[in-house]
């Protein structure tokens, strides 16, 4: 693992093993950031400006230990992207409590813990960017996605209130709500169901990774210092 020189900007991306998290990690490592990433399994890719932590974002002790290591290694954190997330597609009457709990633990508690520890690392430098992940499933009230959408509704509420609470230290907190993007997250959704979902979008197609980084670039830009507490949906939702 490389230690970046102290002036290099440091970003944390959760859920960086695959999917959107892997894309964003590589995207920012290619653009001068040092990226620390995490997921429950080892990363399936590598980059000289990337190092991987293996942990569950819903495990408070593990999250605190990761941030202690980031502090020791880099002494700073400029941005945190709360991308780790899991989904389930099922009717409420067919959803076990254990599944609902797992969704909330990763999506909601995970986002809370990572944002809390990230903000603590950002306080000394009085600046920072936190980007959370919501989904269009929440505003569209999609049937079959109750627990997933509810866990992301909670992420939106956390985003708005953390934006207020963290503003004295110039830490912005925003969220992106992507439309369906072709990753493992949606591979289990039957094709006819996906077609019907896309039909409900103003912009009737899948989203792309580049559309996600376009939004994260906007939130991360120095000029976005007064953009906070915002939820930006893709696909015209």
């Amino acid at each position: 693992m490389n230690s970046p020189p102290n002036q290099q900007r440091v970003m944390l991306v959760t859920g960086s093993r695959k999917g959107i998290g892997a894309y964003l990690s590589q995207y920012y490592a290619d653009r001068g950031w040092h990226v620390a990433g995490c997921s429950r399994s080892p990363a399936e890719w590598g980059h000289p400006d990337y190092n991987h932590y293996q942990l569950d974002v819903g495990d408070e002790t593990a999250v605190v230990a990761m941030f202690a290591d980031i502090r020791k290694r880099y002494g700073r954190l400029d941005a945190a992207i709360n991308n780790a997330g899991i989904a389930t597609m099922n009717h409420v009457m067919l959803t076990p409590g254990a599944t609902a709990e797992r969704i909330f633990r990763t999506n909601t508690l995970g986002t809370f813990l990572i944002a809390r520890e990230a903000a603590k690392l950002m306080v000394p430098r009085q600046t920072g960017r936190i980007v959370n992940f919501s989904t269009v499933a929440h505003p569209l009230n999609l049937e079959g996605e109750a627990t997933y959408a509810a866990s992301k509704a909670a992420v939106e509420s956390l985003t708005r209130i953390m934006a207020r609470e963290f503003s004295p230290w110039n830490i912005t907190v925003n969220a992106i709500g992507p439309t369906p993007i072709d990753t493992d997250l949606i591979r289990g959704v039957p094709a006819d169901k996906m077609a019907r979902l896309i039909e409900r979008l103003p912009n009737k197609r899948l989203g792309t990774f580049e559309e996600v980084s376009h939004v994260t670039n906007f939130f991360l830009a120095p000029e976005s210092n007064c953009i906070t507490g915002q939820i930006l949906y893709l696909g015209g939702v």
């Binding site: 605190v64 230990a65 941030f67 202690a68 502090r71 020791k72 603590k120 690392l121 306080v123 000394p124 004295p168 230290w169």
Partner: protein, 98 residues
């Protein structure tokens, strides 16, 4: 420990240009009447103390654990009670590890 907390309070006051008539001592209040930091200042202080202790001991500590929340008398009353409380947490952590 008292020294570490005094230094932290001083640094936070320096950020706000607030001048104290007398210096910071163990009796300096952090909450309630005569407090030297506002609520945001207190959050900054707690985070700063956590950061400094972690640097010092190489162990992450959290000042806001269930114990702090459940104490009838807040450990954040004064610079002195905060110093005692942090010392207690470090001892408890050492004990747990041994």
């Amino acid at each position: 420990m008292l020294e570490l907390i005094v230094k932290s309070v001083q640094d936070i006051l320096n950020l706000t240009d607030k001048k104290l008539a007398e210096g910071i001592t163990a009796d300096t209040p952090l909450v309630g009447a005569g407090r030297v930091v506002d609520s945001i200042g207190l959050v900054t202080l707690i985070v700063d103390v956590e950061n400094r202790v972690a640097e010092h001991t190489n162990r992450p500590i959290s000042l806001m654990d269930d114990r702090a929340m459940s104490q009838t008398r807040s450990p954040f009353r004064t610079v002195g009670t905060l110093a005692e409380y942090v010392q207690e947490l470090i001892h408890a952590d050492l004990k747990e590890r041994s």
